[in-house]
């Protein structure tokens, strides 16, 4: 099988990688690029553990072919923090104990960021339906929803304080 050369922007960096035509974007991220933060829980788009952003859209990377990444802008869990500075969503997940095993956590954080980028003030119900494509078996979702709502509140406040004149 001839491998294809794919060029994409991943977490802000230009990347070239090889992929089989049948490889998924998730395979490429994990096996070619060593970005194992995106997880494979099902391989069928049902669990959301592989959630990444592609050109601003939230996708299950197990349902995207690696070849489809050509020329695209991809961001993964590894790109959520600003260097060693945790994103407020990551910080809130830690502060509120919103993870137990942590395996689904990368997908939840990427999906939450996508939600809050679109809707900075979601209701509990909006959070629950937005995250309905991400399975968590440990937490019963309670602390995750609290962490998302808390992160949203903090981000709104930060946003406002940045806009305020000095």
């Amino acid at each position: 099988m001839t491998r294809m050369l794919i060029s994409a922007t991943i977490n802000g960096d230009a990347c070239d990688f090889l992929a089989d035509p049948a490889d998924t974007l998730l395979d490429a991220l994990r096996d070619e690029l060593g970005l194992t933060g995106s997880k494979e829980g099902c391989g069928s788009g049902d669990c959301g553990a592989c959630t990444v952003m592609m050109d601003g859209d939230m996708v299950c990377s197990c349902l995207v072919l690696a070849a489809e990444a050509e020329g695209r802008v991809i961001s993964t869990i590894e790109g959520v923090a600003d260097g060693s500075q945790l994103h407020p969503i990551q910080r809130k997940f830690l502060e509120l104990g919103a993870l137990q095993c942590g395996f689904c956590t990368p997908g939840f954080i990427v999906a939450t960021k996508a939600l809050l980028d679109r809707n900075p003030d979601p209701s509990e119900s909006e959070v629950r339906y937005w995250l309905a494509g991400n399975l968590c078996r440990c937490t019963g979702y309670d602390k995750i929803v609290h962490a998302v709502l808390d992160a949203a509140a903090e981000m709104r406040q930060d946003h406002q304080s940045r806009r305020m004149p000095a």
């Binding site: 099902c42 095993c101 395996f103 990368p106 399975l135 309670d142």
Partner: protein
């Protein structure tokens, strides 16, 4: 050390610091089972039986071996014939011969998805292509998928050497029933015959999967000198070592198992499926081999928890005193013996004090994957029937269902089926807290109903090894052999820092590989914070004693003249009276004096106490569709002491959610040919975020005197009450008793239609 009388005496126990492994887990850096890569690693794949029951007449692997890139092929013929012996796991035992036959079919395939052959190749794609080239000649045999046909006298047998234990006389014919177990006290038949009120019913449940999001995965490397290494996620690295060594017939010291982060287990990762196969592929190929399951393989070949049926008859006086219970259950164990019969029997009535009862359990085999432990294994099934029956009794007698439970609740000193007096048990406190909770008296809307149910789990202690060492800058390392499946590093660090009276951040916790620390039983049975935590505290106390001795020697006073306070040794006597040596100062001097500061504790923790839960659930049933929505949920639990309350509440909420799934939407479905119809997360429907409300928690802290900080174990209790709580809520919502799980919309709708007609 006895448990302090007030939790306010603690500095750190009961606080909620960020877990030490947290940043790795929110940034994607943490390495789980499927993430590990070894130098020179190749990839394996497993061929699985398409038949639920078939004799393997021959396997021809020649074409597969000839495919470019294929490095090794393994079949059942490569497995040494194992002797049948049991090893002690977290909440039961594992049989090495059955574990071997479950890893790879040897002679017969016993369920759809049973491993038949494995291949290692330069890529997973090549390995999977090679699987297609393996020719297996099957003689398809008749299969059994349900209890009645498995127990029939003419049933096709899974094993020809299983004779029902617990029958007198011993049966002469082999059967699909490995065990019948009975435990009893008093005279239940007489109590039932003379009772004021008798309630009875038959309850059914489907098998359900533990549903961890991380599929099983491992990397193994086995050299020609006999030494091997395994990197895997599981609930117990030592469990992997023992079972793999037993299956392969090699010494345990020749296998080093490194635990990776585990992406959920819930009991399902207390046994092994892949490791011996990967070891054999590695030995043949000379390369490290990675093996990982896909989700459909996880469903078909790992777990599940047994489904089955429970028949119960309950007798009571007019005042609600339960005078007698007869309970008989049959659990479908799948392909090998061991379907939680004992814990199911002992958990059924352990939260009540009933003078006359008999519990009989049957372990029944069928052509489904061999069942594995699932959170309080066996208890949800039998307690579902008991709690439903009590609800029906409450309605019939016109008594508040919490009051009825209070009347019969187990209290300290009561003698139960285990013949030992109950210790500091907190079921009464849980029931009283549930009754006082605003949820219990809140108004209900149209098409809504409220259910309550209790439950119990015995918890476990067992063997753990811990090393506490002090670096020469005074920072502290706690090393355990207990995998962290939900925040236990944080609990260990809290208990160490509490004991040493130092800052939480000054302590770091590591989980060692099996060659780097003494034996520790797996993380299961809700034992880790109790047993490993006890070892952490004792090791810290040994370090304190050592440091006091060193300081006393420096000051020229005897041991009683040096005491530990606020993370330092204080001099009480002699010329140096009131002098202080801090941990850091003593650590800096260590290598110029007595040597490194470290203590190792190996113990077998006893003094376990059961945990109790009471859950309140409000449901709303859509009369048009039969869909059940959970509109409000409250979980109350006797937790002993909550070391890190976030992770205790998290256990309560997660267990409740799993129980709600079991009650409403989860279940294995098989077609007539014995093949699983829903081996994926789309059709095997676990609760998602929009299915659930917030889950309120009430922690009742009634400390366990046998643990330095009062820990009881919290992980398993919360899956026990929800089945009954949800079923009772639905029963009260629609006025029809729910005895069959899951209560899917089609089942509920059909009942509504039948009731209308």
């Amino acid at each position: 050390m006895n448990a302090p009388e007030s939790k306010r005496a603690f500095r750190l126990v009961g606080t909620r610091p960020v877990r030490p492994d947290g940043v790795d887990k929110v940034t994607g850096k943490a390495l789980y089972g499927p993430d590990f890569v070894a130098a020179g690693m190749i990839h394996g794949a497993i061929l699985r039986s398409p038949h639920p029951h078939a004799r393997i007449k021959s396997i021809d692997t020649r074409k597969a071996e000839a495919l470019a890139g294929v490095k090794a092929v393994v079949t059942g013929a490569d497995f040494p014939s194992s002797t049948s012996h049991e090893i002690l796991l977290g909440e039961g035992t594992g049989n090495v011969r059955y574990a071997s036959q479950n890893c790879m079919a040897q002679g017969k395939a016993l369920y759809e998805g049973h491993a038949v052959a494995a291949i290692a190749a330069t890529s997973e794609a090549v390995a999977r292509a090679a699987l297609e080239l393996i020719e297996v000649d099957y003689e398809v045999l008749p299969h059994v998928m349900d209890i009645a046909s498995a127990m029939a006298s003419d049933a096709p047998l899974l094993h020809d050497d299983i004779f029902t234990k617990g029958l007198d006389p011993k049966p002469e014919r082999a059967s699909n029933v490995p065990l019948r177990f009975t435990t009893a006290r008093g005279d239940p038949a007489a109590a039932i015959a003379s009772a004021h009120t008798v309630i009875s019913g038959k309850f059914t449940l489907l098998p359900v999967h533990q549903g961890y999001i991380e599929p099983h995965a491992c990397v193994a490397s086995w050299n020609s000198d006999g030494q091997g290494q395994i990197w895997a996620s599981s609930q117990g690295a030592f469990m992997i070592r023992e079972l793999t060594a037993g299956i392969l017939g090699i010494s345990q010291a020749n296998i080093r198992v490194t635990p990776l982060e585990i992406g959920g287990g819930f009991g399902g990762k207390t046994t092994i499926y892949l490791e011996p196969v990967a070891m054999l592929l590695s030995r043949k190929s000379g390369r490290p081999v990675r093996l990982a399951m896909r989700r459909d393989e996880v469903f078909r070949a790992s777990g599940p928890a047994p489904g089955g049926e429970v028949e119960i008859t309950m007798a009571a006086d007019a005042d609600g005193t339960i005078t007698g219970v007869e309970l008989e259950f049959k659990l479908m164990g799948g392909a090998f013996p061991g379907s939680d019969t004992h814990p199911a029997a002992f958990s059924a009535l352990a939260h009540y004090n009933i003078a006359n009862c008999r519990v009989t359990g049957w372990d029944v085999l069928c052509n489904m994957a061999s069942t594995a432990a699932y959170r309080a294994p066996g208890a949800p099934q039998t307690v579902f029937a008991v709690e439903s029956c009590i609800d029906e009794l409450a309605i019939k007698l016109g008594i508040d269902p919490i009051d009825l439970r209070l009347k019969n609740a187990v209290r300290p000193g009561d003698i139960g089926l285990m013949r030992v007096p109950a210790g500091e048990v907190g079921y009464v406190e849980c029931l009283e807290a549930a009754k006082a909770h605003p949820h219990w008296s809140a108004p209900l809307g149209p098409n809504q109903g409220r259910g309550v149910a209790g439950g119990v789990w015995g918890n476990y202690g067992g063997s753990s090894t811990v090393v506490v060492s002090v670096a020469d800058d005074g920072s502290v390392l706690v090393t355990t052999g207990s995998p962290d499946i939900g925040g236990s590093r944080a609990s260990m660090a809290i208990m160490a820092a509490e004991t040493l009276e130092i800052a939480y951040e000054q302590v770091r916790v590591n989980i060692a590989d099996t060659s780097s620390i003494g034996f520790s039983m797996l993380t299961g049975g809700s034992r880790t914070t109790f047993a490993t935590g006890k070892a952490v505290v004792e090791a810290c106390e040994a370090v304190i004693a050592d440091l006091c001795g060193r300081a006393a020697a420096m000051w020229g006073v005897d041991a009683s003249g040096a005491v530990w306070r606020d993370g330092a040794v204080h001099c009480l006597a002699g010329e140096q009276k009131d002098q202080v040596l801090t941990l850091r100062e003593l650590a800096a001097k260590a290598n110029f004096g007595k040597g490194p500061i470290a203590a190792e504790i190996s113990l077998n923790a006893t003094g376990i106490l059961p945990g109790f839960g009471v859950h309140i659930c409000d449901t709303e049933v859509d009369p048009e569709t039969g869909h059940v929505a959970i509109v409000r949920y409250t979980a109350v639990q006797d937790v002993g002491t909550a070391i890190h309350p976030d992770y205790v509440e998290g256990q309560m909420q997660g267990g409740a959610a799993q129980g709600i799934g079991w009650a409403l939407s989860e279940g294995y479905l098989f077609d007539k040919s014995g093949r699983m119809e829903n081996p994926g997360f789309l059709d095997y429907r676990m609760p998602v975020c929009s299915d659930l409300p917030m889950i309120a928690t009430v922690m009742i802290e009634k400390p366990n005197p046998a643990h330095p900080y009062g820990v009881k174990g919290v992980g398993e209790v919360p899956i026990v009450p929800p089945l009954g709580a949800v079923a009772n809520a639905v029963s009260r919502t629609i006025g029809l008793r729910q005895r069959d799980l899951p209560m899917t919309p089609d089942r509920v709708w059909s009942q509504l239609q039948a009731a209308k007609a």
